[in-house]
Amino acid sequence: MTRLPDLIPDAKLKLPKQVERTLAGGLTVIAIRRPAVPLVEMRLRVPFGRAPLPRATLLSQALFTGTGTMSSVDIAAELQKVGGGLSAGLDPDRLLITGNALASGLDRMLELLAAVLTDPAYPNDEVATERERLVDHIQVALSQPAHLARTALLKRMYGRHPYAVQTPEPEQVRSVRPAQLRALHADRVRPEGSVLVLVGDLNPEKAIDAAEKALGSWTGPGKDGDMPATPELVSGPLVLVDRPGAVQSSLRMALPALGRTDPDYAALQLANLVFGGYFSSRWVENMREDKGYTYGPHTSIEHFLAGSALLVAAEVATEVTGPSLLETLYELGRIASLPPGADELEQARRYALGTLRLGMSTQAGLAGLASMYASFGLRLDYLSEYSVALTKATRDQVAEVAARFLAPSRAITVVLGDAERVAAPLAALTTVERG
């Protein structure tokens, strides 16, 4: 028998140097040097809360269709020349533009970004193409169980709050006109409140100078989306959404959660990990490695600007849908009722601290973290505070937040599956209503 080698304790968390400047137009630029590979990563988040969903979604799809002087092909080709690429996405709070290029192409990528931001054309033909593509894309999403289950869960969680619907209907997209995109762009794609993050093989001061030069003409007041706080989750009957013939059921739950800056957040994240937030958690070991009900069950805390929630997700075989809910309720009940073991808490703590380092170990990882935190008004030094909070959280604290947040009585539950086969087994455990 060979003994498991000891771990060498981690050195103190070292944050990369970052430089920050807010430009005259209101754009905040953060630059971080990590020269490991000769590339640059770029992230731009623009506040977009409460923007009309069909238009905002199509805008994100059509952002690179053309400028006053360039076609979509020109933009793509010019980016490629410097090894670059840009793409855009949307969440309920932000428009996110992601890019990367060879390090020597940073200035050019910023120029092209500036052209897209300040001189958008939304040409009629190209917008029509992107509109049809988006409709097709949504049609495909509507056939995917993960998408359908999330749609049902969001509706149940958020009711009349704007977060309740995060994908537009195909018909809504079909009616969006190019002029509406131009108007939305003029209204909302604004520098004030936006944050540009640049990470890579760069000199931070010079990178910010380059951003200032390229984006100096991007001006105008930002518009506050004025997102109301999310409503409190109200538990109730399990919502069963029928998907006839499905060979698996999509089990989803939502539980309340805390924002990242709450003093109890680290303890809640540890409770989440012990419960289901990583492979070596109680729920995953039970559902997968003991019962074989599912392949990739997972839980995570999802943060939006106006609120956070803890989400539970598993795709389980149709014939074990009832037993899967049973085990899930059992594990939630267990973590809400009894303090975690000292060993399992230490294991979760080390996982949280270690993966934090892994996440910072690449240019893309750093850029994603810096941008995501910045959109919540935080900077990378939050990671140091968070590390300390993770290190200090006690068993009692974790037990206390678990009792408050992970109690099965507080859960909203949605199951997407073959109702004819799963309704009765689910009804044996809880009240079921059809969604």
Binding site: M1, T2, D10, L102, S104, T129, E132, A317
Partner: protein
């Protein structure tokens, strides 16, 4: 006006040695982030599984996580994650990989864990049945319960190939999975999981001398067993076009995918590499030929992608393999029309060559993708382990951007000229769901 950009390179150092038991080791230190990546790759994959045991290589991969000489079931996961790390494994056509990414202080632990299972997994009836259940759920999530499951990676090989190793379903039939036995697993391990049939690569924050000592200590006493002789899976190219069509009851829109055989990626690398670049000339971004024509101008597809190797692993696949194009179409889309347009564009490329700057910008973008992958410790450990296994040349990872940059227009044109309809295998997916 075309500013030609210089394609940069990485200079990751590479140390190689072979232990007395035949295990080949690659060390590639880089201390820019406090993390290490450990990869062990065995020279066996989907193509080597016996008839009547489809899916066995993948099922066996799962069994390698179920305990070993000094480790109970669940211990591997807990020891990696309890060290702050992450793990996984994946089964490819020609190899199976196992890997961890961890804070650097956990390197020895990862080496211990990999060495322990290299001596032999704990193969029990209970664990086998459990993992058969888990694998079935994996297949349901990724293939049976979603639209376009297995398209085209499981659907196209039987059209392009005629021999069992190349054409069969690598996920496996439920019947074959159910008939797998512990004895099958023992025989599979004995035959293929010899240390002479494996490579170990370590990337990231470590000292070469210390790591070498640890590797000798942990792996040195793994018993030497002879490696099986490398099979030749080659088979004749198509002599006439082959087509297949099937209905996906969950898919809302039609799709089509084609494949053409390409030169031996290892034996004939110089002839092969132009196809890698050609795939990107055809489909990388809005300025690529097929995206511009089919998506933007004709609107006959909503998306199109091109790549080499059924799993997209162009530098980690052996002969025989293929260049693939796959497209999703709008409602009522016409696969024949799409194929005719692809032929037309290939003819045009062959007749007229490339446009000014087209090759250079495509090469620059490929370089960014390659460099970006290597920024992650696993993006070095994994490919270097496979390059060592298949070519004895792990340092080739540093050379790939340059080699891609040396591909000439004449080579691209010659490659395109081989993509004739009579050498093409095509599979069409028809929508079976109401959109």
């Amino acid at each position: 006006m075309a500013r030609k950009i210089k394609i940069p390179a990485t200079k990751y150092p590479v140390e190689r040695f072979t232990l007395d038991n035949g295990l080949r080791v690659v060390l590639t230190p880089d201390r820019s982030a406090p993390v290490v990546g450990v990869a062990v790759v065995y020279d066996v994959g989907i193509r080597s599984e016996p008839e009547g045991r489809t899916g066995f290589a993948h099922l066996f991969e799962h069994l390698m996580f179920q305990g070993s000489e000094n480790l109970e079931k669940l211990a591997h996961f807990r020891h990696v994650q309890g060290a702050g790390g992450t793990f996984n494994g994946s089964t490819h056509l020609d190899y199976t990989d196992y890997f961890e990414v961890l804070p650097s202080g956990a390197l020895e632990r990862a080496l211990f864990l990999e060495a322990d299972r290299m001596r032999g997994p704990r193969l029990t009836e209970e664990n086998l049945q459990n993992q058969i259940d888990v694998v079935k759920e994996e297949i349901r999530v990724n293939v049976l319960n979603r639209p376009y499951g297995g398209f085209p990676w499981l659907k196209l090989p039987p059209v392009l190939f005629a021999t069992f190793p190349n054409e069969h379903d690598g996920y496996g039939s439920f019947g074959d999975l159910d008939s797998a036995t512990v004895d099958d697993a023992k025989a599979f391990f004995d035959r293929y999981y010899a240390c002479g049939n494996a490579t170990l690569a370590v990337a990231g924050d470590f000292d070469v001398a210390q790591a070498t000592e640890m590797i000798r200590r942990h792996f040195g006493d793994v018993p030497a067993r002879p490696a099986p002789s490398l099979p030749d899976f080659d088979e004749p190219d198509l002599t006439a076009e082959r087509r297949d069509v099937y209905t996906d009851r969950l898919a809302p829109l039609p799709g089509v995918a084609s494949a053409w055989r390409v030169p031996d990626p290892i034996g004939d690398f110089a002839q092969y590499l132009p196809f890698v670049v050609l795939a990107e000339v055809l489909t990388d971004g809005d300025a690529s030929r097929l995206v511009d024509r089919l998506v933007q101008r004709d609107r006959s597809v909503t998306s199109i992608g091109g790549y080499i190797g059924f799993m997209g692993d162009e530098f980690q696949v052996r002969n025989p393999t293929a260049l693939l194009l796959q497209a999703h179409m709008p409602p009522g889309g016409d696969a024949d029309k799409v194929l005719r347009t692809v032929d037309e564009e290939l003819d045009r490329l062959v007749a007229d060559g490339l446009t000014a700057g087209e090759l250079e910008r495509t090469q620059a973008r490929i370089a960014t993708h390659l460099l970006r992958d290597t920024d992650a410790v696993l993006g070095r450990a994994l490919p270097m382990a496979v390059l060592e296994l298949q070519r004895g040349r792990p340092e080739m990872l540093n050379d790939l951007p340059r080699l891609v940059g040396e591909v000439t227009e004449e080579q691209i044109v010659a490659a395109a000229a081989t993509l004739r309809p009579e050498r093409r295998a095509t599979v069409e997916v028809l929508p079976g769901a109401m959109a």
